[in-house]
Each structure stands twice: as C-alpha cells, then as structure tokens.
C-alpha cells in the first residue's frame, strides 16, 4: 500500500504477467510488485519452488524478472516506468547438484 498520503505521488501503470498494476512513481519494480500483493516473482532453479524478493538491495539476485523482454533484471534495482511489461522468467533447467566450473 502507498502511505505517502500528504504528497500523493504520480502513479505509474505497468503490468505483471499481463495483469495491470499501479505503483507510485520512483518505486522499484520489486516494491511495486509486493505492494500489489505479488509475492512470488519466479521459480527456484533446482526445486522449481517459488522465489521472491529477499534483500531489496541488489545483492541476493532472487527478484530477477523479465522486463520488457529482457531477462534476468533485478526487480529491486529497476525503477518503475509507465507501460512496463514485467514477466516471470522461464524455469531454469535443474543442474543435478553438479558444478559447472570455477577455480
């Protein structure tokens, strides 16, 4: 919910999975989704269970969504824009607990 009643900010309209939502201008995409009671942003790579925002500061990478066709955007670092089209990303193919390399 938007609490800044004395200073009614401009509202931005965007969509999540085709459903229209509204958010205060200047909010991050992640905050806008949570304010619209959208809690699950995508699925986990191995179990396929839902995942959502966690740190809201760009470090946990769990709020990644597709924004206007570009995958792997961190919703907590992107500011809402009028007409933005947000989608969940397709599930990742499980890795079966194997490393794909590092040193």
């Amino acid at each position: 919910m938007e609490l800044d009643a004395t200073n009614t900010p401009k509202t931005v309209r965007l969509s999540f999975e085709g459903t229209a939502i509204e958010a205060p201008a200047g909010a991050t995409v992640a905050a806008a989704l949570l304010a619209a009671d959208i809690i699950a942003f995508g699925t986990r790579p191995v179990s396929g269970l839902p995942r959502g925002a966690f740190c809201m500061m760009g470090t946990c990478f769990e709020c990644m969504v597709e924004i206007d066709g570009i995958a792997n955007r961190q919703a907590c670092l992107e500011t809402v824009q009028e007409g933005q089209n947000i989608r969940r990303m397709p599930p990742r193919i499980p890795t079966k607990g194997q490393g794909d390399g590092d040193d």
Binding site: P45, I70, R92, T95, Q98, G99, D100, G101, D102, D103
Partner: protein
C-alpha cells in the same frame, strides 16, 4: 621421527597423479599421494572439461584414443559418471582455406590408422549447431568425443584411489627430493616420506620436481581463463572450437555457457595464484560474439583462471627419468591433459610394474629437451 613409507610416492594430487595412484593401487601397490593444496585445486579441477580427441597433436592421438575407451566406461573405472556426456566436439572453419587445412588434418589422422575425425560441410554444420553464424563453411568433427565435469572427475579419481588403499595427503608440499640406498626421500612440512619409486605428477610445479630428480625441462606456468554465463535456453549440444580463433565453447545441461579456449591470465606458481586478465576476457567475448551474435545480451557471471604446466612443444613429459630407473614423470600437459588422464595413470603403472608401455610414448620422453 620415522619417515612414512609406501611402495610408490606420487607427487601431485591432480588428475594425472590420482590416475597413477588409482592404476598402481589396482595392481596392489601401496601408494602415497602428496598434494600441496587439495586434490583438483589447480588445472585438474578448474579446466574446461573437454573430453576431446579432435585436433590433438598427432603424437598424442594413440594415447587419446585409448583414453577415450576408458572415458566411455568411466563409471566402471571410478564408480562415478564424472558428468561425462558424449556430446561430440566440433572445430569450425570460417573460410574455405581453413576448411582445406581441416581436410588435410583429417587425412593425416586417417593415415595413422584412426577414423574418429571427419570433415563436414556448411549444411551439416548448421544441423549440428543451428545457432552458428551463417558465414561458417564447415567443420572437423569427432562425434564420440564429449565433455565431463573436471572437479567432479578429480574428486571421483581421488575417492576411488583411496577406496583401493591409496593415501592422499593434502597440505603436503614437497620441499626436497633425494635418493639414498635405493629409496626416494621426500621432504614435506608433515615430515619425510620414503618409497622406492617416485612419480612426478606435479602439473605446473612438475618442472620444479623434475629438477630435483635431475631431469631439467623448460616448463612454464600459464593461467588459461574461463568464463561462465547465466543460464540460457538450450541451443548448443557439442563442444565447439574454431580453426582460426582461440575458442572453446559449450553449453551445460543447466543452460550455462562455458567460454574458454586458452586466453591467458596471470600465473604465479610461487604464490599459488592464477588471476584473470580482462584484456583476454574481452577478446574471448568478441570471439563468441563473432560466431554467435545473438548472445550479446547474455551475462557473464564468473570468470577464473587455473595454473597449468606448458612445455615448448605443447606436448607433455610422460615417461621414465633419464637418470633414475625408479623415477617417472607425468606432467606438462599444455592445456589438454584432462582427456588423457585415465590412460596416463595406466601408462605410469605399466612403466612401474612392467618396465614398459604398449603405447608409443617416446615423443614425451623428458630427455627430448637436452
């Protein structure tokens, strides 16, 4: 303090040392592996995982073919699938001239009596790799080659060797090697270790150990780099290289892309460190973009470098010491030792127990640099 004893001491707990330990243990020898870090810490565990006969130095082809047989049954050898997949290896030609060179190459492999490499044209290449840039003319392919997971492989070799009775001592850097009364005396921070037979499989540090056994070789440490991307939808099955470029490119089953091929980072064996060099990574990124322009928005999530031993003629040292009947070397695999590892251990075990190997290893003799 009493020195610890074994039948064979292997210096280096990487894949070649562990393979030697495994094959020697299979024959009943008591093996002690001395590893200064942990098994698979350097080149063995952090390489691109290519299981490739394709495009090898002709001297290595007979060994590589035998190694491939072991890879196709790797689970029987080490009780683990090592993440091996028979996805094929493809070397792309971007010009007619490159394709001609690949034809000559394929013919020279056939002349040796092997038939795993074949040349395909542009249309068949498009079938194998539909996403490839349209200017490519064809490729050299080896369909039964593949890829595996390096650290998983190193770990499997270690666990199997240990199950067969070998001991792997970690944090045991060899500081000196001497020979007295028919016994190799190997000094480590954990005390002196003794054995009648010594195997040097010390990778990027192999030259240092070879110096201690009186077999000087001009080994250099390099730090080849690799990068991994975020997962993308599956589009690439075989491991891909390019005849005219530095590239090794593959997609894992989780969708991530591995980009490598041999761009060098900074190597420092004295402080045990390999670091990435951004100029090489940018070059690597340009190479991928040239062949797969559609990948420009895919993000790189990790890059790293590993320490590898490289010899001037780009083939390893594998064989008996020129000076001692009881010292053997297996190192300096010069960017492409991973696939050979199952067979190199067998060759060392043959040399130790039978005094000879059935495979043609003369080109790898340590004395070739004298």
């Amino acid at each position: 303090m009493m020195a610890r004893g074994a039948d064979v001491i292997v210096v280096g707990g990487g894949l070649h040392g562990l393979s030697a330990a495994l094959h020697l243990s299979l024959r009943g020898a008591k093996v002690l592996v001395l590893e200064k870090d942990y098994s698979g810490r350097h080149a063995s565990g952090v390489n691109a995982g290519g299981v490739r006969r394709l495009g090898r130095d002709l001297a290595e082809v007979p060994l590589s073919v035998e190694a491939m047989k072991l890879w196709h049954g790797i689970e029987q050898l080490v009780d683990d699938d090592c993440g091996f997949t028979r996805c094929g290896q493809v070397l792309v030609a971007e010009t007619e001239k490159e394709l001609d060179l690949l034809r000559t190459r394929a013919a020279s492999v056939v002349a040796l009596g092997f038939d795993h490499e074949e040349v395909i044209g542009a249309s068949e290449l498009l079938e194998l790799v539909p996403a490839i840039a349209p200017h490519c003319k064809g490729a050299l392919v080896s369909r039964d080659d593949g890829a595996a997971l390096p650290f998983k492989t190193a770990n499997a070799f270690r666990r199997k060797a240990e199950a067969l009775g070998a001991t792997v001592l970690t944090g045991a850097e060899v500081t000196n090697v001497s020979h007295a009364d028919g016994i190799w005396q190997v000094e480590t921070p954990q005390g002196r270790m003794d054995a009648p037979v010594l195997v040097n499989a010390a990778g990027a540090w192999g030259g240092k150990i070879a110096g201690m056994t009186g077999d000087p070789v001009p080994l250099e440490a390099h730090a080849p780099m690799l990068m991994i991307t975020e997962p993308v939808a599956p589009f690439l099955t075989p491991v891909l290289g390019a005849a005219g470029r530095t590239l090794s490119f593959k997609q894992f089953d989780n969708g991530t892309l591995l980009i490598g091929g041999g761009f060098k980072g900074y190597a420092d064996t004295d402080i045990n460190r390999a670091e990435t060099r951004l100029s090489g990574l940018t070059e690597s990124a340009r190479t991928v973009q040239a062949l797969f322009p559609q990948l420009r928005d895919v993000r790189i999530v990790r890059a790293w470098a590993g320490l590898e031993g490289v010899l001037p003629d780009m083939i390893p040292v594998l064989g008996r010491s020129q000076r001692w009947e009881t010292a053997f070397h297996s190192f300096g695999y010069s960017y492409h030792g991973f696939q050979l590892s199952p067979i190199t251990g067998k060759i060392i075990a043959d040399l130790v127990t039978d005094g000879q190997s059935d495979l043609p290893i003369d080109p790898f003799a340590p004395e070739r640099f004298v």
